[in-house]
Subunit: 312 residues, 2 copies
């Protein structure tokens, strides 16, 4: 099977690792990365797109290798001034070099430029040749409703509360008015395979699939539609994926991830150490899915591409 | 004569020096500083108010003593990233610590907060107790029309072109729709003396006086209304004041400044080295007006206050 156009649905840190692996193998015109934007928010008047930036900075080779987000070696002089000079609570890290991205995005946003075009401008100026697309040009906002009835905007839950509150349900505010951009629609319609990165299924992938029409557009494609489990040995590599699964009624495991994606996927990749698990997806395979080095990312991407190339 | 409330009209660097001298002498409730905002502009989506910041940073003791504007010891990491990562032309210096001010101002501006209230918030958080007021809450934009017919927005003329083009005329765009805030109106109406700082008469003071009703409100007050000459020995201490006077048909001198202010003032202060000049103002005196150290600023402020206290 020719794989001339791979589409990957990705969130932040984990998804961006696979995106980087794919980008290091596939020529620019062979890969489209569709990124969650439901974590986007306004902060100090800046439009912040955490997942888009994580993907962009990964592909530009600028990512902070320690955190997995932000820019390597960045400082926080402005943030320190907000706290020390102006007494602000500075719970969300904004780097000084990173600030350039936020300024340009916010400036163009206020000028009425679409997020798709903003990402195109930013990534092309950073020398990125692969296509990165926001899941939608419309603002969508993940709201976390906790068991105590509190409703937290995503970054308050994720950064301020360090994802400690017990989640009852998630809302993607604004999603019903969001639409797929022409670019996203076309990418899915022309994909030779669709990969769902090992991102948080609820916080990163669910909002993408919730963009009206997107889930159906994916399912309608008779091509490999493969999710990669973010759960290894019952645990998330990073972040609240496992904790959240448990809170939402799933036993955290690769099997449960596969069950959650259901008919959206027809293939599933999970970690070799979970090989004894049963996965109810038409096709499934195991690889070493833990990505640390760039070589790990390339290896996993290559294994997945090789595997789906062999599908009849 | 009791001087319980001094109002100073000021621009940037030179005016801020006198404002600092006054603030070091007068208790907070005895001084109101009305600041030019016609240099304000949008830059990278940020609302920048150069003169307000210069006054604020002076009064907060944060000013860069070398440049006379910006923050002492500030860095430009964001600006460098705009240039190096994104290929932007970065002709207007934005410091990283300074950025905190621009972010807060811009955020509040977009929330619909008046500039008067923004300045109150910023300056009170910086520990400034004296009242700093923008000349108006409405956006006004100085447009510089050159002899070649070019029309430059102020910062392009001032920073980008380093005030080298020959000026034919100046426009204060938006001034006809601007109004005095209640705070500015009340300050002028209750002033026991009104000082016009040694700022650029055309670029800094003229826009303030051009706010509809403001010039008349000043003239209507039967109190000392004293301008301090920014021209010493035929030259500007800093910036284009002398060059601009010549281009606009005045011989650069303290006499010409006094002539320019005409009936707006009833008293005039100029430098001791210009003592041989004739000044056509009802009252006039000379002092050492060159301000370098804080002691210079306090001395000039004190000399002016002593002088007008002696008026009958």
């Amino acid at each position: 099977m020719a794989l001339d156009h791979i589409v990957a649905l990705v969130g932040g840190v984990g998804g961006a690792k696979l995106a980087l692996g794919l980008a290091k193998i596939l020529p620019p015109q062979h890969l489209t990365i569709i990124v969650n934007t439901a974590d986007d928010f306004w902060h100090y008047g800046l439009r912040i797109s955490p997942d888009l930036d994580t993907v962009m900075y990964n592909l530009a080779g600028m990512i902070d290798p320690i955190n997995g987000w932000g820019l390597a070696g960045d400082t926080t002089i402005t943030l320190d001034a907000l706290r020390q000079d102006y007494g602000e609570e500075t719970w969300f890290r904004l780097g000084d070099r990173d600030m350039a991205t936020h300024l340009l995005r916010t400036m163009w946003w206020h000028e009425g430029v679409s997020l798709t075009e903003i990402v195109r401008r930013l990534s092309s100026r950073l020398g990125i040749e692969h296509t990165i697309l926001p899941m939608t040009d419309y603002p969508v906002e993940t709201i976390v409703e906790t068991v105590t009835g509190e409703r937290l905007v995503f970054q308050k839950y994720f950064v301020w509360e360090r994802w400690q509150p017990v989640v009852k349900t998630l809302h993607y505010k604004g999603i019903e008015s969001a639409t797929m951009s022409q670019a996203v629609k076309q990418a899915i319609e022309t994909a030779d395979a669709i990969l769902i990165a090992p991102s948080n299924p609820f916080l990163s992938i669910a909002p993408i699939l919730a963009v009206p029409g997107l889930r159906d557009a994916v399912i309608a494609r008779d091509v490999p539609r493969v999710a990669i489990s973010p759960i290894i040995g019952g645990k998330a590599v990073k972040g609240p994926a496992a904790k959240l699964m448990a809170e939402l009624g799933y036993t955290p495991s690769a099997s449960a991830v596969a069950e959650y994606y259901g008919i959206i996927v027809n293939g599933f990749v999970y970690d070799a150490q979970d090989a004894d698990l049963t996965v109810n997806t038409p096709r499934a395979t195991t690889f070493d899915t833990f990505m640390q080095s760039d070589a790990d990312k390339v290896a996993l991407a290559q294994n997945i591409l090789n595997w789906i190339t062999d599908w009849d």
